[in-house]
């Protein structure tokens, strides 16, 4: 299973750290979560077999993302070269200083490869051709992921329009995003999305994660998300079943001791944040500390200036619906009030 394969018009993208996380946590019993930083032969070998059997041979660029990889098993370069020998041009992303030597990059002479401020390479073309389609394009892993997420949402009709105005938290929704279906159908891509979410959580709460906060799920879909995140981040989980603008909470909370523990609320989609706020209140009322909330998708109803990055109410997510894409995705929220004629 390769989870991070994304096809773009110019290249095929693979995230090696995400694949290594799968090798170590799911195919082997090495429970390091996303904290693993060493790339092993087994992962490269899986990737090699996948590429060998795939049918994108007409497309001859492969982009390998080394983000978060700080160490390579010796002698795996041979396998990387074997991928190249399947007739692909390789481009590497996010090479840290520590792995330049292991990849023997000094042997590739290409003036397009420029070091970044940390003496690593943001992008490294593992070939010496004078021209390439990739020389003039910007390749950023978050952009590749977001574009793919949006494409899947759109092309496979996961944004479903309601027949009549649908009320939720006292606003009307034109459509809803069927994340339950998305999660069920889009495997293994969903694992890559959750991997990215775990990485985002790690970078946002690097220090707090040492105190082992608890991940809180509050619906069936978010329970799935929580279970994967718990493996990737090595955190405990708590499931509230079920809080939402429509259904009520019907599990008892007495058995769990909240005192002085920290919590991260996990949802599939955060629209206006009603469920998150209810869960936050419950946690704080019971004596716990609320760190923040995360979700696969969030709707940004306010501008980023009005909801600052530091704000505790700002949800962390891997995909946002914003004023830039809501029309394209046919997603809209409105109320019954008439606009003022000013």
């Amino acid at each position: 299973m390769i989870i991070s394969h994304i096809v773009t018009p110019l290249y095929n993208y693979f995230n090696l750290h995400a694949e290594e996380v799968i090798s170590s946590n799911y195919l082997n019993d090495d429970n390091q979560g996303i904290y693993i930083s060493s790339l092993q032969f087994e992962t490269i070998n899986r990737l090699f077999n996948y590429i060998k059997e795939s049918d994108f041979k007409s497309q001859n660029n492969i982009v390998l993302d080394f983000n978060h990889i700080e160490h390579l098993q010796p002698n795996i370069l041979k396998k990387v070269i074997e991928i190249r020998e399947l007739n692909f041009k390789l481009t590497f992303l996010n090479i840290s200083l520590n792995i330049i030597e292991s990849l023997s990059l000094e042997n590739i002479v290409n003036s397009k490869n420029l070091k970044n401020v940390n003496d690593g390479f943001d992008i490294f073309h593992f070939f010496t051709d004078s021209t390439s389609d990739l020389y003039d394009v910007e390749i950023k892993n978050y952009k590749i992921f977001e574009d793919e997420f949006k494409k899947v949402l759109k092309d496979k009709n996961y944004v479903v329009e309601y027949d009549k105005p649908h009320s939720s938290s006292f606003v009307y929704l034109r459509s809803f995003i069927d994340l339950k279906k998305f999660i069920s159908n889009e495997r293994p891509f969903i694992y890559y999305a959750l991997y990215r979410l775990a990485i985002k959580i790690k970078s946002k709460w690097e220090i707090q994660l040492k105190d082992k906060p608890i991940l809180v799920g509050q619906s069936l879909t978010s329970t799935f998300i929580v279970s994967v995140l718990s493996k990737l981040l090595k955190l405990d989980i708590l499931v509230f079943d079920k809080i939402g603008p429509i259904t009520k909470l019907y599990n008892k909370l007495e058995k769990h001791n909240f005192e002085n523990r920290k919590y991260i609320v996990v949802s599939d989609l955060v629209c206006l944040g009603t469920e998150v706020k209810i869960t936050k209140s419950l946690i704080e009322f019971s004596g716990g500390k609320y760190l923040g909330s995360v979700s696969l998708v969030k709707v940004e109803t306010l501008t980023r200036e009005d909801l600052k990055k530091e704000s505790i109410h700002r949800t962390i997510s891997v995909f946002s619906i914003t004023d830039k894409n809501n029309q394209d995705l046919k997603y809209f929220i409105y109320t019954n009030l008439k606009p003022l004629d000013e």
Partner: protein, 406 residues
């Protein structure tokens, strides 16, 4: 009957090689079989005896027991004693899984028993409250475990099999030993590297022995030590299967040092030492990182000790050889860079041939130089020498690595 632990003597790998092996060999010659006695004084003198074992000797005992049990085609008897004198050492051995690994356990929650020792289990139980660290356990790795054999079948080349096994063991070793690596400031900075080093050594053992490799890591305030022991075919046999290429002709270094005859030791025993030099030389020429590079980084980067024992000989590589090792390491790096350039730029012609042969000759000279120095020191005073010879042959490859805690 041979007692393993002697009164007032710490059972170290050195004791194992020098005294214990000899006693076992003599007993077999005399009796035709062997029975182990756990401690010298048994149930006598229980208030006057004290027994200690250096944890890294455990893989050696297991490895020897395995050889003997294969030879006699049945597990070897070991007589246990539980009394005031033995309770601590018995507690440690039991909790470090020694008896689980050596016995015939089939329960999946505990380590699989390899059926190499036979003992009375009624001695176990009611142990001291004190538990050793959960990571201080002896582990047994085998190609017959976890379906590894069939997983390996898909790989064509030996190198790929090796790379795959290393990566499999990286995941296991990390789970088994990583915690210990955090406890030594020298190893905590490079846990990935040490995890790999162990996996590489275990892979060597498992591939060569085609069966069990025993390993244990132990940390105290002064150093981190690990010990890996297998019963494999040994270096000489595995070198015989190598074919000649541009850089390497099998046994070329050995032939040269065979002629030097500096040491006045039984030629059969010297042969083992020469084979160890040959394997390090072979590994220093290869286009992949291996045993030589491991040794260099243990000694030069971590200022540790690398002790390599095979059959009758042992070499102790330490920073006393710094000068020669540094020179070798630089030559090796230059050669390796050429190997990499050839790989990456798919160079098929012979533009590097002369340069590589020159480097290879320099590496060989350097090894011969090192050999001379080591042997002369041995002739001056064998007690402080970096090489040791033992009269009793102990089959397989046995490696101990010691990294001081900075």
């Amino acid at each position: 009957m041979v007692s393993i632990l002697k009164n007032n003597e710490n059972f170290t790998p050195y004791v194992f090689y020098t005294t214990f092996l000899k006693e076992v060999a003599e007993d077999i010659n005399k009796e035709g079989y062997v029975i182990f006695k756990f401690v010298e004084n048994g149930d006598d003198k229980v208030f006057d005896s004290s027994y200690r074992i250096e944890p890294i000797s455990i893989p050696l005992i297991l490895s020897l027991s395995e050889q003997l049990s294969k030879y006699f085609k049945e597990p070897i008897d070991i007589l246990l004693y539980k009394n005031n004198a033995t309770k601590q050492v018995l507690n440690f051995l039991y909790k470090s899984d020694f008896f689980w690994v050596a016995g015939n356990n089939k329960m999946p929650l505990y380590p699989l028993g390899r059926n190499i020792l036979k003992f009375d289990e009624s001695f176990f139980g009611d142990f001291l409250k004190k538990d050793p660290r959960p990571e201080h356990r002896v582990r047994c790795y085998s190609i017959n475990d976890d379906n590894l054999k069939s997983k390996l079948e898909v790989f064509g080349s030996e190198d790929e099999k090796r790379d795959f096994l290393i990566s499999e063991y990286v995941y296991t070793v990390r789970q088994h030993f990583q915690e210990l690596l955090f406890d030594n400031s020298n190893t905590s900075k490079k846990t990935d590297y040490y995890v790999e080093l162990l996996s590489e050594l275990i892979t060597n053992g498992v591939l060569h022995s085609k069966s069990n490799t025993f390993a244990l890591m132990f940390v105290n305030n002064f150093s981190t030590k690990f010990s890996i022991s297998d019963n494999g075919i040994g270096f000489e046999e595995s070198l015989k299967s190598k074919s000649s290429n541009l850089l390497y002709t099998p046994f070329e270094l050995k032939r040269k040092i065979d002629e030097l005859s500096i040491l006045k030791v039984n030629p059969k025993i010297i042969n083992n030492l020469h084979v160890i030099f040959e394997i390090l030389y072979y590994s220093a020429l290869k286009d992949r990182r291996g045993l030589f590079d491991l040794m260099i980084s243990v000694v030069l980067e971590s200022k540790g000790y690398f002790r390599l024992h095979s059959d009758n000989a042992q070499i102790i590589v330490s920073n006393r050889m710094n000068k020669q090792l540094l020179e070798l390491s630089n030559l090796r790096d230059d050669l390796y860079k050429i190997h990499e350039d050839i790989l990456i730029n798919s160079i098929k012609d012979n533009r590097y041939d002369n340069q590589m042969i020159k480097l290879k000759n320099q590496i060989m000279d350097c090894f011969i130089g090192l050999y001379n120095i080591v042997c002369n020191k041995y002739n001056n005073d064998y007690r402080y020498s970096s090489i040791r010879f033992y009269n009793v042959k102990f089959k397989g490859v046995h490696i101990e690595v010691e990294i001081p805690n900075a």
